[in-house]
Symmetry: C2
Subunit: 502 residues, 2 copies
């Protein structure tokens, strides 16, 4: 099956692929040649359990997806300037999963194209330009989205934030500004958005949109408290802007209970624009923006045509339809609930057992395990998270760590993930945590009650900064040591194998 040896593949990659395009486990990347369901296979036939590829939503290489693609490819693949049944059939089907007022679709090729178009719609409709985004948010790789992604632009220095961008605190009730001990975190986080709007308006800025992932993914598997979106939408609407729910990572039944993650906020919440991506075509490049008739008409009123060469082609739509069919036929939403709840329960037990586990949060098959070095201060256990990820890879399990401190173990597996898979991965994590705690002699769980903790948030940031500096020093030292004593290789490994997984 291989054309090149792994070493040759790597060498060619270094020669011909942009160095900004990173691989998983940079020091010893994996070559995958085949995948099926929730399993991936390397060039030696080694089987990996996949806990991270939310794109392979209905399972890797699902035969029904392949069948639908082939059938349509053999007939026709052309642009949407010709009428075609697949386009309208898919649009009709997709909109039935959404609240009624979300009825107009634009088909595009990626989550980035979707979010960019959402901004264009919002700006045209509102006549405003400014955008409110959440801290640590990532919304895509095109210029307009790097601008509204603190996850990215914060890496470029403080000046990288544009004037039209307003960053609201991430509604993280474990590590954020208002925590689980706050009487109304949803209200408090929403009030912050209101304050941002008022301040912006005082400075002559007008808000076009508030954009948020329905649950933050790269931001650290954050589940906003219910009611937050409703309140934010109210403030944003009052300011003449719209609410964009980014479902690129979390849509299509992943949360189990609902088809869309924004629905976890309550039935009374309906965003003005929803963007979709990753799982929509099970890996086929496609995505969609759905909005209201009103916003679509306002966008059309500019007279500017919107044409997307590949968007909504008959093959993409056939694949999209097949994915919806499979979710239904195989009850993958039900599976996400059942297996998700089971996995969540197992991880909660880990939280009781291991002081390294600070928080377990999630919905369905979207779960985050926030590792901490200290239960009171909630100091992110970044190196430990990286160590676990790396050790899991050795045990043929693919998991990743993300969030601003890269300390949150991030579960978002194909939706066919099973009870056995859940049990297996948690057993491995249990062993690794036990080993790690032994090795680092981490002290027993601190018993300080959690409701006194939010007062520490300012000093916490300082602690975190210090922590990062220490990590850097250790990493550099390890690299030097590695040159002298090969046995130290694992140390630099741990600190360098940061695995971003948006």
């Amino acid at each position: 099956m291989e054309v090149y040896s792994k070493a040759e593949t790597l060498a060619l990659r270094q020669k011909h692929i942009g160095p900004s395009c990173k691989v998983f486990f940079a020091k010893d990347p994996i070559k995958i040649v085949q995948a099926r369901g929730q399993y991936m296979f390397d060039e030696n036939g080694e089987k990996y359990l996949d806990c991270i590829n939310n794109v392979a939503h209905v399972g890797h290489s699902h035969p029904d997806v392949v069948k639908a693609a082939v059938k349509q490819m053999e007939l026709l693949n052309t642009n949407s300037r010709f009428l075609h049944d697949n386009l309208v059939q898919y649009a009709k089907r997709l909109t039935t999963t959404l609240p009624e007022k979300l009825s107009v679709c634009y088909f595009v090729n990626s989550g980035s194209e979707a979010n960019d178009l959402a901004l264009r719609l919002a700006r045209q409709y509102s006549g405003h330009y400014d955008v409110i985004t959440l801290d640590h948010a990532y919304h895509g790789h095109v210029t307009s989205l790097i601008d509204i992604s603190p996850y990215k632009f914060n890496q470029l220095g403080k000046e990288a934030k544009k004037e039209f961008v307003h960053v609201a605190p991430s509604p993280d009730i474990y590590r954020g500004k208002y925590r689980e001990d706050h009487e109304d975190p949803a209200g408090a986080y929403a009030d912050d958005v209101r304050n941002i709007i008022e301040k912006a308006q005082k400075n002559g800025h007008k808000i076009a949109a508030f954009i948020a992932e329905s649950m933050q993914s790269c931001g650290g598997q954050i589940i906003p408290p219910a009611g937050y979106f409703q309140k934010v939408a109210q403030f944003v609407h009052k300011a003449g802007g719209v609410f964009i729910a980014d479902e690129v990572q979390v849509g299509f039944g992943r949360v189990g209970k609902n088809f869309w993650a924004f629905q976890l906020q309550g039935e009374d919440f309906v965003p003005d624009i929803v963007t979709m991506g990753k799982p929509i075509g099970n890996g086929h490049p496609m995505s969609c923006v759905v909005t209201t008739r009103e916003i679509a008409e306002a966008f059309g009123a500019s007279g500017l045509e919107y044409f997307n060469t590949f968007g909504g082609n008959p093959v993409s739509c056939a694949i999209g339809l097949a994915v919806l069919d499979i979710i239904e036929k195989e009850d993958l939403q039900g599976n996400a609930t059942r297996v998700g709840n089971y996995l969540f329960g197992l991880l909660k037990e880990q939280q009781k057992k291991h002081s390294l586990v600070g928080d377990v949060r999630g919905a369905g098959l979207f779960i985050g395990v926030d590792l901490v070095k200290d239960q009171i201060r909630r100091t992110p256990a970044t190196a430990e998270a990286q160590h676990i990820i790396y050790k899991l890879k050795e045990r043929k399990i693919l998991l990743s760590a993300d969030g601003p401190y890269r300390n949150v173990l991030k579960f978002k597996p194909p939706m066919c993930f099973s009870m056995e898979d859940a049990k297996f991965v948690v057993e491995q994590i249990d062993e690794l945590l036990t080993d790690l705690e032994k090795a680092t002699q981490i002290r027993a769980k601190n018993s300080l009650p959690t409701n006194t903790q939010s007062k520490r948030k300012v000093s916490l940031e300082k602690v975190n900064l210090l922590f990062f500096n220490i990590i850097t020093v250790i990493h550099v030292q390890s690299l030097i040591l590695e040159q002298i004593f090969p046995v130290c290789v694992t140390f630099s490994y741990i600190f360098s194998s940061v695995i971003p997984t948006h």
Copy 2:
């Protein structure tokens, strides 16, 4: 094969697809259910000759493309954070078609994503922000590209041009500032770019990039005079910027003589960044940016990862490889030369015969026929072009008209277009031109020598404005008349069936 009747499809489309997404022949759109080679078939089995779909590069539904897609889809479709042979094999193969220094690839999903990334590369490398673009240019639908596409932003009013955007005249030697009678149009157009740079620099602006399609497509099938790009590149490099050649519409052997259209400028010209799209996957959503090691390293130096979820997945790469194989195996580049030259010759004969044909220009299977109402003033024959397009559609031939006046018949068929196809379409055009000339009693060809014409360019613009106003009046009148006398329907048809085809 149909799920819905054409009327139902149309109704569902109006309900569920954004009104900004236009169809061809808005008053009587075509429903296509199947296609093969250079032919498309509607729901009644009617066969259309396709002269416009440059995306279906190696022919609609090519079996080798389908085979390659299925084979890979059955095995694996995942992201490029895992090593895979297809990615590096394709990157290696693609870069061999380019000058040596263009060796580093970034795989993305669309021409828009490619051009946006090209801007990011240029800005990071140069440390500058401003962009020089050609008048009438179209580079894509995302926010950053609407900004540099006069084809789009000019429709939004004069204020729509951003300060960092500098518009250079389109190097159109038929209708532009310097014409075929100019002793050195390449030098003159390039000098204009130099002047723009100097003016920008005086105002504190720094040039990140000059971007141009290697041949303007939406801009009116413009072939820049050889030597123009070299001179521009020299000025842009001196200013610290880079040269981006947009090959999204015109690459992959379409021009026949060369694999890339920028190569028509001469062997001494090498752009710093090349962007690709449409034909690269024969309709599969994929595209690519290729640049130099130096620029790629500078982009990487920011430390920001570049990740594109679908970009460079094994299925897209397998399809890309199949397309390159087919171009070679079926000698489609040779076919583009042979059939292109033949078609060009036939159209040149039309130019001699019909006073409506002002200019015929092109390379390989990329040809424009500039229709004029007046050979001396070169007044664009917009309505006539639309009439011909519409009448050709009745004769089951798909052709489009584009350019700033939508008067340029635009040939960019699948590369398997044959001599017979060329003969057939020109015969039909001949008949239609003859009929049209008879009906409108257009006077015989004016014999004024062409080398006196460029002096008239200022007054020409006024004439064109007036002409557009007249068209609008006629169109509105026709619409009113149509209500009274159904027989007048054709008139409003002609004036409304404007068919953009980027």
